[in-house]
């Protein structure tokens, strides 16, 4: 079974700082990582391959340096890596991104064999939209299974799959037909440590590099900024709050005294909280 995992290289948002004067992102020195949510997708794909045979191709769209992330995926055990990179893709919103990735997926199917399952993470940590997966599914006419917590059953011969999907208040057990696009929920598995063999292979592996033309994209007007219906009008830093923090003095206080001070300060700041708490205590 040929499985494709769509990944994204993202800045480690935990380490991003905003320039205090210019309000721009200071990218310098911020490490890039594979979008953490995509690792759950990759691990799930590798497990299916290990169980059923076949191969796993990882695909990313991004600048040339995104090759790093693909190489990392190879060290985890992916079999093939495709980098979709072209200036024409710059400024893509989610609609334009799913257009390009769908084209690349179609091309991967032609070049390396049909793709019954496409995996991706539930969202990225930089964009956080969760829109690209559904966009790809819709464009390629794949059945869409988002927020998947578990693959309960997969029958490649019958072409059917059953999954548990996270919904409001519980899990939906859904069955559908291949081909599908699955977005994996976080925390559902743990990424393996790649083997030495994988590391050796990854170091020597050729990452397939495609331009828009290589991926068979002729409508460049549907890519990048031109192909993006949403436009960013302005970017700005969140406003600092006018209300200043009120410090509870801690000097010369034992912990228990301090706790009483903190409680009193809370009740002074928002008297309704005390009323609510007493009502709750009375109801217990």
């Amino acid at each position: 079974m040929h499985i494709v995992v769509c990944m994204k290289q993202v800045p480690d948002s935990a380490q991003i700082r905003v320039h205090p004067v210019t309000n721009t992102i200071m990218r310098q020195g911020v490490p890039t990582i594979i979008n953490p949510y995509d690792l759950f997708a990759l691990e799930e794909a590798l497990r299916l391959r290990d169980r059923l045979g076949g191969e796993v191709t990882v695909l990313t769209m991004g600048p040339p340096m995104a090759e790093e992330s693909l190489r990392k995926a190879l060290t985890f055990g992916a079999d093939r890596a495709v980098l979709l990179t072209d200036r024409a893709f710059a400024g893509s919103d989610t609609l334009a991104t799913s257009f390009a990735l769908a084209a690349a997926l179609a091309k991967i199917g032609q070049e390396f064999g049909p793709v019954p399952i496409v995996f991706t993470g539930k969202q990225t940590i930089d964009g956080d939209t969760a829109q690209v997966g559904p966009g790809i599914a819709k464009r390629l006419g794949l059945n869409q299974l988002t927020y998947v917590a578990r693959i309960a059953d997969l029958d490649p011969d019958a072409g059917t799959i059953t999954v548990e999907r996270r919904a409001e208040g519980g899990l939906q057990v859904l069955s559908t037909r291949l081909p599908v696009l699955i977005t994996m929920l976080e925390g559902v598995n743990e990424m393996r440590r790649g083997s030495l063999d994988d590391a050796y292979r990854a170091a020597r592996a050729q990452v397939v590099r495609w331009s828009a033309a290589d991926a068979g994209i002729t409508e460049l007007a549907r890519c990048g900024l031109k192909g993006s219906p949403t436009i960013v009008k302005k970017v700005f830093a969140p406003q600092a709050r006018a209300e200043k923090v009120q410090q509870v003095p801690t000097a010369d206080r034992g912990t228990d005294e301090l706790a009483v001070d903190v409680m009193a300060a809370i009740f002074r700041t928002r008297p309704t909280v005390e009323e609510d708490l007493l009502r709750f205590a009375a109801g217990q």
């Binding site: 208040g169 009120q246 708490l277």
Partner: protein, 367 residues
């Protein structure tokens, strides 16, 4: 595929994005503000009501009607959901009622909603950024080939009448305002608890416009086999809790997280944590508070050992009172907390639990 993207739809002439302000002729008929009202298992999701409140303001600003969209499996669900929509500000409600829609499926809901949009042409379409809403919004926007802005924190109408959707970017470090100029509808999702709940006006009513769904169950590929409801103990109602106590890496160990839970229990509140705690496996992902986790709006929020990275700030800014406990006086959390305590949460939390317990029991006896 019954609803593959309509690639033949007329598209605006290619130009540099954002430079054209003249809406293509075929989009000029698009009017009114719509809110998709989510009603899984017969329960109207509060985010939909919050969105109706926001949608009301947008509709008034544009001088157009506000409509709720109700996709339901049976008449009773449709009627109760429509009633909730009217009582929270809708002028009219579009309903599609069909047993096929009893459980959410991407295929059926995408079809029902895109058919409604193509028939009645809204200029703005809002959905909750729930699992259902995000799954549906992405498909509908792709099918309609229009713009979709996720997880907005502010919606407004700009001087030229466009929807200006503001959302956090780069994990919340910055905000950006996004427009969809040349395409309709302008779509956006908003997370639960970001907008405030409008007051309910009992008895308020409006028009209902019903539309049939031209889809047979045999033609739907995906089947819902069953639904495994969460156990009561698994149901984190964090987003809607009045009091929330949360912990961060300052707690130093998974065992110490128990101190957070103990205080939350005495206060009758819920508990959560910052993103690193999920990564370390100390708490489950549904307890994560912040831009990539839950947005909360409690009356009282106590952050213990949380430094307050911008990612976290975005998720808690709606709280009435933020109390921060941290050993580092320079922690960013002290920039947006209302009350700051420079102390070790591991020592202060148990003392606070004792103090509240004593106060509450004494005053209960006195009352």
């Amino acid at each position: 595929m019954t609803d593959a993207p309509n690639t033949n739809a007329p598209r605006p002439a290619a130009g540099r994005a954002g430079t054209r302000r003249e809406l293509p002729e075929h989009f000029k008929a698009y009017k009114h503000v719509w809110v998709a009202v989510e009603c899984e298992h017969g329960i109207v999701h509060p985010v939909s009501l919050e969105l109706l409140g926001e949608g009301r303001k947008l509709a008034d600003k544009r001088g157009v009607e506000l409509a709720g969209v109700v996709l339901a499996g049976d008449e009773l669900t449709a009627a109760t959901t429509a009633a909730a929509a009217f009582e929270h500000g809708a002028d009219l409600v579009y309903t599609v009622t069909d047993p096929i829609l009893a459980h959410y499926r991407n295929e059926t809901y995408t079809r029902a909603l895109t058919d409604l949009v193509n028939t009645h042409k809204p200029e703005i379409l809002l959905l909750g950024a729930t699992n259902l809403g995000r799954d549906l919004a992405g498909s509908v926007a792709t099918t309609l080939q229009t713009g979709l802005t996720a997880d907005c924190t502010e919606l407004a109408i700009d001087d030229e009448g466009s929807l200006a959707a503001t959302r956090p970017t780069f994990g919340g470090s910055l905000l950006c305002t996004i427009l969809t100029l040349n395409y309709r509808p302008q779509m956006a999702t908003v997370r639960p608890r970001v907008m405030s709940l409008p007051p309910r006006e009992p008895g308020r009513w409006g028009r209902i416009v019903e539309q049939p769904l031209a889809l047979a169950e045999e033609d739907v590929v995906t089947k819902v086999l069953r639904f495994i409801a969460d156990r009561e103990s698994d149901k984190a109602q964090l987003a809607y809790a009045d009091i929330v106590v949360a912990g961060g890496l300052g707690l130093r160990s998974a065992e110490n997280f128990q101190l957070v839970r103990a205080l939350a229990e005495v206060l009758g509140g819920d508990y959560g944590g910052s993103r690193p705690l999920v990564q370390k496996g100390w708490i489950t992902a549904d307890r994560q508070i912040g831009q990539t986790g839950k947005t909360i709006r409690p009356k009282l929020y106590i952050a213990a050992g949380i430094s307050g990275a911008i990612q976290h700030r975005v998720g808690v800014e709606g709280a009435d009172t933020i109390v921060a406990i941290n050993t580092d006086p320079n922690a960013p959390i002290f920039e947006f907390a209302h009350l700051g305590v420079v102390a070790d949460a591991i020592e202060l939390l148990p003392a606070l639990t004792r103090a509240f317990q004593a106060h509450l029991s004494v005053n209960r006896l006195a009352g």
